[in-house]
């Protein structure tokens, strides 16, 4: 029976508060915070982060037919973005990679399509939403990602059914190449969406053969918060079972939001619970799942709640605008970063995308980047590939670089040593320069290093790891 084999989500480190915006615009729109993809992130890198989280509990994937990447803000058009996600996740070459998207509806709809197919698919959904300075979409939009491994394998949640309703009306639209959407008056869409929500929900209940009263956790989100609120009052689900849509913490991350909500429900659900999620976007889609005993052992490593708690809400509004391309700042008198040339990047695909170094077959020494001749024993024979994305690493030394170009200066340069061997000199991101220390544990994160000639230069950086509690900490908390 089809279901979710694993799941994962990603909420970026940075948060912009409504008050930070209001302190500049002088006008307050809404409250709370929104999650912000850093200057070195895009929908592709966020999909990789969510994908890594989804695959963490299973280690490797024995069989995969396809990888889907869903977004309304692709890093490239014409060029498939799923192939970069695929390469960064180190997945086998013999699978199909597909981009889906263009609209907020694509996320949940792609997940339902995967659950209804016979394939084993990794569905990654990432989105980024903003609006003009001071607009409701700016403070109310969000950046986030989710990923689900779907197939006929032992599942953490089995597919019970789905229901959809579609309609054509001009509620929210964006021309290709534009940064943000325009919307019609919200009250126009509210009535339509309320009706569509009900139609899809009833259809899904029927498909799943589950009464509304049996739903243990219900998430509804989408382009009409008013309709969502109206519908939850009449949908028949126990009001205490309707979960927070997280828009006051993340904002509304478009196509990714229902995925993040589903991940958050899976973080907390017990085995045997019935979960439902409805997305309102140019119609409505509702998905119903039931969790299994396997969920306990396959939860994502860092739950959504912890991802939210780990955020930094001190992002300056000026930096947010700069990162979103709305504020042009003075740059150092330095040339643009070199572009990543296609042939060397392709030759280095395993290194650049999958972070695969080489291990000497004669003496076991690891090399990052891969070397042809061993630095230790000089052996010139073949080396074995070694992917170190998930290996524990600590900072050997570091420096704070005020001179190197960055949209978020200063740059933190770190030299990190991996447990089991291997040293890597790189940039550190999502970190406070004042809090970096020698010995600090870090983890790998796939980022966009630069953009030159419209080529996104993807590679790996490190970021502070969530330190596992030491024995001492555990004893202290026990006593």
């Amino acid at each position: 029976m089809a279901g979710l084999t694993t799941y994962g989500s990603y909420v970026p480190y940075w948060r912009l508060t409504a008050s930070a915006i209001a302190s500049v615009t002088g006008r307050r729109e809404g409250g709370g915070t929104r999650a912000v993809a850093s200057y070195d992130e895009d929908t592709t890198t966020m999909a990789v982060a969510a994908g890594l989280s989804a695959l963490a509990s299973v280690g490797s994937v024995d069989h995969l037919d396809s990888l889907g990447f869903v977004t309304s803000h692709p890093a490239y058009v014409d060029k498939t973005n799923a192939t970069a996600v695929h390469a960064a996740l180190g997945l086998p070459r013999a699978i199909r990679c597909t981009d889906t998207g263009g609209a907020a509806r694509s996320g949940l709809s792609a997940l339902i399509a995967a659950l209804r197919s016979t394939e084993t698919t990794l569905v990654t959904i990432a989105d980024t939403v903003t609006g003009p300075a001071g607009s409701p979409d700016e403070v109310g939009g969000g950046d986030a990602a989710a990923a689900f491994l779907v197939g006929n394998m032992p599942a953490v949640a089995t597919f019970l059914g789905s229901g959809s309703a579609s309609d054509e009306f001009t509620d929210r639209w964006r021309l290709p190449g534009e940064s943000w959407a325009k919307t019609w008056e919200e009250r126009f869409g509210e009535a339509i969406y309320t009706r569509l929500a009900e139609e899809s929900f009833v259809s899904a209940l029927k498909d799943a053969d589950v009464p509304a009263g049996d739903i243990d956790r219900y998430a509804i989100v989408g382009l009409s918060p008013r309709a969502a609120k109206t519908f939850t009052r009449t949908c028949g689900v126990d009001p205490s079972h309707v979960v927070d849509d997280l828009t006051s913490a993340i904002g509304n991350a478009g196509a990714a939001q229902p995925g993040v909500l589903l991940a958050a429900m899976l973080d907390e659900a017990a085995p045997g619970e019935t979960l439902a999620v409805t997305m309102l976007a140019d119609g409505a889609d509702t998905l119903i799942l039931r969790t299994t005993d396997l969920l306990e052992s396959r939860r994502q490593p860092t739950p959504v709640a912890e991802q939210l708690a780990a955020g930094n809400d001190e992002l300056r509004y000026a930096d947010f605008l700069t990162w979103k391309g709305q504020l042009v700042r003075q740059t150092p008198r330095r040339p643009d970063p070199d572009r990543a040339a296609a042939p060397p990047a392709y030759r280095a695909e395993a290194w650049k995308f999958a972070f695969t170094g080489s291990e000497c077959n004669a003496c076991g020494t690891r090399h990052l980047p891969p070397q042809r001749v061993c630095l230790e024993c000089g052996d010139m024979g073949d080396m074995s590939p070694v992917r170190l994305v998930d290996s524990a690493a600590r900072i050997a030394t570091y420096t704070i670089d005020h001179l190197a170009y960055s949209p978020a200066p200063p740059v933190i340069g770190a030299v990190v040593d991996f447990e089991g061997g291997g040293r890597f000199a790189c940039e550190m991101t999502d970190a406070d320069p004042e809090k970096v220390s020698i010995g600090q544990q870090v983890e790998m994160t796939f980022r966009r290093m630069s953009d030159t000639d419209g080529i996104h230069n993807y590679f790996w950086k490190v970021r502070p790891a969530v330190e596992p509690p030491t024995e001492l900490d555990t004893e202290e908390s026990a006593s």
Binding site: D338, I400, L403, A425
Partner: protein, 397 residues
């Protein structure tokens, strides 16, 4: 490994060095003419007497025609040389070998770099054909890793190391203030150095060398011919070069407190020259002070200070003009900036002046019976570099 050297087989008989700085007045070609004519004049030679040229430049030209098309050298061979920040020294080394091999009678090594015309801050070394995975840290950031590592290894306080850095910047600017060819010819107080804005790690602006334009040239002949051209030639005692395996950034054992490449090239040069105790035997040395911590670590790698003692040696004045071993008496990269192709030959030019007793009195180093001068270049970054060491002296034997 065999490294026989060419001790006392070739001699420098003329040198020229331009003023270094923001040479808005001069092109690359103008500076090449300025340095080569000065060298020819010192040797009393016409340009046609030069049999072959070695031109060192990193970014100001590619082929030998950068020189030949300006000087109109009439079909003479010109070899363009590049080897990172040791480029100028590398032009000199290869020119010396050509004479020692008997291939030519009279050759010239020329270094030049025009860094200021591109309008950028710092050195620009663009490569448009990479996979994009190299770290984009600035040069000061890469060298700033030396200080914390040194402090950690030797138990010196961070403040002491910083004081030694400041002393080094102060000393080199003091020397540069006595040099009319320097880019910066003013003394800088230690208070001002300490208060400068941060650039990277513990490095402030005054811990970094400047960016400038310049050129320098040397004429090299067989040792037995030297006195035909000058009463005071300099004889080449040792020439050593080490290209590292570049493993520092990928080898967990590298601790950022030494340049192995320098240790190797220094040992080779000392062996060629017959130098056993460099700190006692050298009259002066010009070393690659691209950043102040670099000069400090070099003192230990070149054998001028015992391991772990450079801060004490520095702060006690060992390396000042009056000290036991004056380092960078011309002001170093700190005062001259670093026009890549020219720097190595600029250092040699200071040996030319000092060892022949022709430096301006206010910075002339007392010989005290010592006969050798040393020049050193480093190109790359800690754990990942090339190193050059030369030793020259005014007498045979």
């Amino acid at each position: 490994m065999s490294s026989y050297g060419i001790k006392d087989r070739v001699a420098i008989v003329g040198m020229g060095c331009t003023r270094f700085g923001e040479r808005w007045d001069s092109s690359t070609g103008d500076m090449l003419i300025e340095s080569t004519r000065a060298a020819l004049m010192e040797a009393g030679l016409e340009q046609d007497a030069i049999d072959a040229y070695w031109l060192g430049t990193m970014t100001s030209g590619f082929s030998g025609m950068t020189l030949s098309s300006v000087l109109k050298t009439k079909y003479k061979p010109v070899t363009r040389v590049e080897n990172y920040c040791a480029t100028g020294s590398e032009a000199f080394r290869n020119a010396c070998y050509a004479v020692a091999a008997g291939a030519y009678d009279i050759v010239m090594a020329v270094g030049v770099e025009k860094l200021k015309d591109n309008g950028y801050s710092g050195l620009v070394n663009s490569d448009d054909s990479t996979d994009g995975t190299a770290t984009a840290l600035s040069a000061p950031a890469r060298f700033s890793l030396l200080g914390p590592a040194y402090v950690e290894k030797y138990g010196v306080s961070r403040e002491t190391f910083k004081q030694a850095m400041t002393h080094t910047a102060w000393k080199n600017h003091y020397n540069g203030a006595r040099n009319p060819r320097a880019q910066f010819q003013a003394e800088v107080s230690k208070e001002k150095i300490d208060a400068a804005p941060a650039v990277a790690g513990d490095l402030g602006i005054f811990d970094c060398s400047g960016v400038s334009d310049g050129s320098a040239a040397a004429i090299i002949v067989r040792a037995e011919d030297a006195y035909k051209y000058t009463d005071k030639p300099l004889f080449v005692k040792g020439l050593a070069f080490a290209a590292g395996p570049g493993t520092g950034p990928i080898d967990p054992r590298y601790d950022y407190t030494t340049f192995e490449e320098v240790v190797h090239s220094a040992a080779d040069a000392y062996q060629q020259a017959g130098v056993e105790a460099p700190a006692e035997e050298l009259m002066m040395a010009e070393v690659h002070d691209c950043f102040t911590p670099t000069e400090l670590v070099l003192m230990e790698d070149l054998g001028f200070s015992a391991r772990g003692t450079v801060c004490d040696d520095t702060l006690s004045g060992k390396f000042t003009l009056e000290g036991a071993l004056p380092i960078n008496p011309d002001g170093g990269l700190k005062s001259f900036g670093h026009p890549i192709g020219a720097s190595g030959l600029r250092m040699l030019f200071e040996c030319w002046l000092q060892l022949r007793g022709e430096a301006p009195a206010e910075r002339q180093v007392a010989a005290r019976g010592k006969r050798y001068g040393l020049t050193h270049n480093l190109g790359g970054s800690p754990g990942d570099c090339v190193s050059f060491v030369s030793i020259v002296g005014p007498e045979l034997g």
